[in-house]
Structures are given as C-alpha cells and as structure tokens.
C-alpha cells in the first residue's frame, strides 16, 4: 500500500531531473533573479503552495489532530466544569485521576472480556481475510475462461459495496425468527425452529462468514493485480523443468506475492484492537441476548457514549485502542523490516 518513506523516491527523482537541461536553465534563471540571496529563502511559490495546502491542513487539524488531544480524557474524571464552555476547557479543568479509569475498566471485568472477544475475532478475521482471497485469486488466475473469471470476480465484488445496514437486512431475511428462510427450511425438515437473534452460539460463525464474504472481492482485486504482474516466462521455465501447476503456484506465485501479502498483513495487524461497529452492532440488530458474542471494543465504546453514558470508562477503552493499534503498526513494521527490508511499508 502507500509508501510512507518517500524521501528516497523523491531524491531519486530529483537526480533524474538534475540532468535535464530544463532544470539547469531554470536554475540559471533563478540565480539571475535572486542574486546574492540564500537559496533556502521563502519564495512566492512557497506562499502559493502553502495557500493551496491550507484548506486540507485546516481539515486535518480540526478532524484529526484536535481529537488526538482529547485522549487526555482517559486520565481525567471528565465532567462539565462550566456550562457553555468547550470540551477542552472542561477537560483541562476536570480532576486528574491518573490510571483510575483503567483500573475501573478492568476491575469491572468488562475490559478484559471486551478485549478478549475483540482479539479472538480479529485473529480469525486476519487469518481468513488473507488465506481465503489468496487461494481464490490463485485459483482464478488459472481459469481457462478469462471472461467467466472476470464476471465471477465482478459479482464477488458486490458485497464490498453494501453497507452493514443493508447487510443486516440481508441477514434478517434469512434469519428472521418467524419468516426467515432458515426457519422455513427447518420447519420443512420437521425440526424445531431457532430464534436466531437470541442464540449466541451460532453468531461467531455468522460474523466470521460475513466478514470474509464482504472482504473477499477487495482482497482478490489486490492479490490478482500482483499475480498479473508476474512474468509468464517464469512459469514456462518451470513447466520445462517438469513442475506441476500446484508446484508452480507454491514455488513461484506465492513467493512473488509475498510483499503484497505482508503489506496487507501489517495493515490488518493495526486493526487488531479495532472492531467493525457495523458488523457487530447493525447486523445482529443490537440484540441484547447476543452481547456475550458481539460486544467488541467499538460496540462497548459506543454504548459508553450513547446508551449508558460513562465517558470515563469509554475514553479509557478508546485510549487503549488508539495507543495499542499505533504501537502494533510500528512494531510489526519494525519486525518485518528486520526480517526482510523490502517488505516493510514505513
């Protein structure tokens, strides 16, 4: 995915440019214009570029950086000190409580339960979210009928464009206790119907299935693009040496897909302590009986804001989430860099 360390690439690029006549010409012009002035001076171009970047920078400050200071809330007993004042005024004037919020979060038992549930789901999501699309794209690249493959791929991309609210309706059509397809089939088979929205034991499977189902198309696009870029002569050579198709896939295609797979892995590791609110809240219809298997970290924080307000506990969970995912991205990237320099993304 994105390359964060661009300085290398830019340096390489500017060395290419340095050789062009155009740039030399420009430098001559520049030096004529600004005789005796230091090269590093702020120019008119800089002002204009800064102006162009200003709206986006303001956006970043308002919508990304201001909330970052709000993480302080995890160490405060937040309350409205003075009505009508802004969040930050109240935040700074609230009593500092140190790690009390965290203690409360974990001593109540909810913190541990929520974190455990989130981690378990995410490990399943990460493994299946990589293995399934990789296998499917390996299979798809081998199909004889390319048009057929393309059509299937397009259709498999459809769930990616559906919001979780809509997916919730799809699921409801199948699982509705009195009208859903599953119960109709169970009745036809003379079995007892199941009140799906009240039986937590089935939901982990449903949720994992839905997550893979929705992400399959996206993953396949990414992996197929990397398979397409592989030089076909490698396969011809392997075939000459008597490699089977399976051996070719394992010995040629997979190793060449390694950096893309690692990149997707690093990106998903960062999400280890996040959870998809839509999947865990909208799809099970926020059913109370299912909270034992659906109350992952984002659902928990949402409830702390909207349903049973307890901003202190919510902000402690929120803080843990932000810090841990940041650390996870950086650490994984460092480990990957240490193992294989080219695969790291930062």
């Amino acid at each position: 995915m994105p390359c964060y360390n661009n300085s290398k690439a830019i340096n390489r690029y500017s060395t290419v440019l340095d050789n062009t006549d155009l740039l030399k010409q420009k430098e001559v012009l520049m030096s004529k214009k600004s005789k005796g002035v230091k090269k590093k001076r702020w120019t008119r171009d800089d002002t204009q570029l800064a102006l162009l970047a200003l709206p986006t920078t303001i956006w970043y400050v308002c919508f990304c950086f201001l909330p970052m200071f709000g993480v302080l809330m995890a160490f405060k007993n937040y309350r409205i000190v003075e009505a009508g004042r802004s969040f930050f005024y109240n935040l700074l004037h609230s009593e500092t409580t140190g790690f009390k919020n965290f203690e409360f979060l974990f001593s109540s038992g909810s913190g541990t339960r929520v974190l455990k549930l989130t981690l378990t789901y995410n490990i399943a999501f990460i493994i299946l979210g990589i293995v399934v699309p990789v296998i499917l794209s390996l299979m798809m690249s081998q199909l004889h009928g390319k048009r057929y493959g393309k059509t299937c791929q397009t259709l498999m991309f459809l769930p990616y464009f559906m919001s979780w609210v809509i997916v919730g309706y799809f699921v409801y059509a199948f699982l509705s206790p009195d009208k859903g397809l599953f119960n109709t089939i169970l009745t036809m088979l003379n079995k007892d119907t199941v009140n799906w929205y009240r039986e937590p034991e089935y939901w982990p499977y449903f949720l994992v299935f839905l997550n893979v189902w929705k992400g399959m198309g996206y993953g396949m696009v990414v992996y197929l693009a990397s398979i397409t870029g592989i030089d076909t002569s490698l396969y011809e050579a392997a075939m000459m040496d008597g490699a089977t198709k399976f051996q070719q896939a394992v010995k040629i295609t997979l190793p060449l897909m390694k950096s893309v797979i690692i990149m997707m892995f690093i990106l998903s590791i960062g999400g280890l302590v996040r959870s998809d609110f839509g999947l865990f809240y909208q799809v099970p219809k926020a059913s109370n009986s299912l909270y034992t298997v659906t109350e992952t970290i984002d659902v928990f924080i949402y409830k702390m804001i909207k349903e049973q307000p307890n901003p202190n506990m919510g902000s402690a969970a929120s803080f843990l989430q932000s810090v841990v995912s940041c650390a996870l991205i950086l650490i994984t990237n460092r480990i990957v860099k240490w193992m294989d320099k080219d695969s790291a993304i930062i």
Binding site: M1, P2, Y4, A9, I10, S14, L17, L22, L23, K26, W42, L49, A50, L52, A53, T56, T57, W59, C62, F63, C64, L66, P67, M68, F69, G70, S86, F87, L136, S141, H144, K146, C152, T154, F157, L158, F161, M162, S163, V165, I166, A173, F174, K179, L181, G217, Y218, V221, V222, T232, K245, M263, G270, Q282, I301, M304, S315, S318, S322, C326
Partner: protein, 311 residues
C-alpha cells in the same frame, strides 16, 4: 497495472501450461457458487419487496411468493415526502462531499509532489500521523459536538469523510508518476502561479485519478450510516441509510410520520405492509449501487492498485 499486462493476462495463458480440464471445471463450479452467494441476497430482498403481505404471512420470506404486488412501493410512494427528503439528503451529501473531498485531496496531493516546497516535510507528517494514530471515538465525539459544534448539522455528514490520508497518498503517487514533472517546471518558468498550475494543469491532467477517488468517496458517502447514527437526531437530516436504520430500531417510525397526515398512528401501523416495505427501502439503496458498480469497477481496481504500488 498497465494496459499491456492486462491483455497479456487475458489472452496469453499458454495452452500447454494449463490446469487440466477437470480441475478447471471444479474451479469454475466453486466460483459459480461463490458468485451466487454474493448475488442471491440482493435478489432475495428484491423478491421479498414485491411479495404480497398475504404471501409473506403464509409462507414467510420466500424465493417463490404466492403473489407479487407493488404495494410496498406504493406505500413508499404515498410517503414520498419523507422518502424524497431522505433521498435529497443522501444525494446532497454525496455530491457536495465528493466535490469538497476531491478538492481537498487533490490539492494536498499536488502540494506534496513539489519537492522544492519548504513545508513539504511538515505536511507529509500531517498526512502520515493520522494513518497510525487517532484520537479514538470518545474524544472525536466530544470534539465534533462541542468544539466544532457540528451536531445535527448537514456538515457533520460531509466533512469528517472528505479526506483520508490513504486517498491523499493515492493522489500524490498518481500526480508524481503519471504527470511529467517537467511541465510544472516549465509552467513555473513561464511565470504561472502555483494556483494556476493546480487549476489549469493538475486538475485536467489527473482526470483518471479524480474519477477513482470521486467514486471511492461517493460510494462511501452513499453508504454511510455511522455519522447519522452518531451525530444526527433531527429527522430532517436523515439520509436513506439513516431512515432504513431507524425503521429497523423503531418500526413505528413511519406511523409516527403519518400523524401529520391525519390518520392515527395505530391505524396506520396496522395497514402498513411492514415486511415488504422494509425490504423495498433496502432495494432503493442497493439497486443504484448494484447497477452502477460493474461499470466503474475498473476505476476502483485502479485506485486500489495505485495505492498498493510501493515505490
């Protein structure tokens, strides 16, 4: 992915080095099943939305209803004021958001390609940090509602989703790799201002990029329900997704609305084709996307793959 490679992939599977006919058949069958799993739910809710109430009462949701009617859609048509309002909100948010987002993303992307710019290092950090660290939900909620005062305003549906660092990096990569930097240099020599270069050169030359990001943005806005759930209480600002969500949680929502039409809510709720009507609402949201995305899929693919190019 260049055009050449794509055609290679389509035509040049050497006949000798292929999987056997039998394996190919098995693979094709697997993909057929997978594609079916992805499409059937959509077909299913379309069928339900056309099923008559009697059929649903007798057989439940079925692929083969006893009788088909338009009553759910008629019902929605009778409520067209509310539906059109929600549609209006969705459309306004999608269009405005896409335009605002495109401007903010592409201007930042262009600025980050100018290696001579003094603040480039700083701005790179500004874009990069939010990718790894975020304030978390609680403080974001508080900042949006109390500091920025965005609760129950149409802007809260538009602004938070306008920029994503991922899109900015796609934009930067595209502008740097597809547009020859020397034309910017020569424009500068000719005395063009940076604003002029951006509006008259960068924008026209990066149409494929704008198409890709515009599509990512507009699908995101159309599908968004999260911002409505968090920040919108006023019914006037409900988008289609939010209406669908509120029917979900509050089946009397439409009946409440009916009060203004002079019928008691209980009466109204009783005559409402609830089951099929819900599905008809869902169909209203799904069908535009399902019809449009196959044509724009290649823009998505190019967006996803530009993003994954590692330089």
């Amino acid at each position: 992915m260049s055009k050449k490679k794509r055609t290679d992939y389509e035509n040049e599977q050497p006949k000798i080095n292929r999987i056997s006919k039998k394996t190919n058949f098995i693979f094709s069958a697997i993909f057929f099943l997978l594609a079916l799993i992805c499409v059937v739910p959509v077909v299913y809710i379309i069928i339900i939305s056309f099923s008559s109430s009697e059929s649903i009462a007798a057989k439940g949701y079925s692929f083969f209803p006893d009788s088909l009617t338009l009553e759910a859609y008629q019902y929605l048509w009778n409520n067209k004021v509310m539906i059109l309002k929600a549609f209006g909100v969705s459309a306004t948010v999608t269009i405005t958001g896409t335009i605002v987002g495109l401007f903010l993303t592409s201007s930042m992307g262009y600025v980050l390609t100018r290696s001579k710019f003094k603040l480039k290092g700083l701005l790179t950090w500004v874009v990069f940090i939010p990718m790894v660290f975020g304030g978390g939900l609680v403080s974001t909620y508080n900042v949006y509602t109390t500091v920025l005062g965005l609760k129950d305003s149409v802007w809260v549906l538009i602004l938070p989703m306008a920029v994503s660092s991922f899109h900015v990096i796609i934009a930067k990569t595209f502008i740097r790799t597809t547009i020859p930097q020397s034309i910017f240099e020569s424009a500068e020599i000719d005395g063009a201002s940076q604003l002029r270069i951006y509006f008259q050169m960068v924008i026209p030359l990066s149409k494929p990029l704008l198409a890709t990001i515009g599509l990512l943005l507009s699908f995101g806005y159309w599908n968004d329900w999260w911002l409505s759930l968090m920040y919108i209480d006023s019914r006037d600002l409900y988008s289609l997704q939010a209406v669908l969500m509120s029917i979900e949680r509050n089946i009397e929502y439409l009946a409440q609305n009916a009060n203004t039409m002079g019928i008691s809510s209980a009466q109204y709720a009783a005559t409402m084709p609830k089951e099929s009507m819900r599905m008809a609402m869902a169909v209203l949201i799904v069908v535009p996307i399902a019809c449009v995305y196959p044509f724009f899929q290649r823009y998505f693919v190019s967006g996803l793959t530009i993003g994954s190019v590692k330089e």
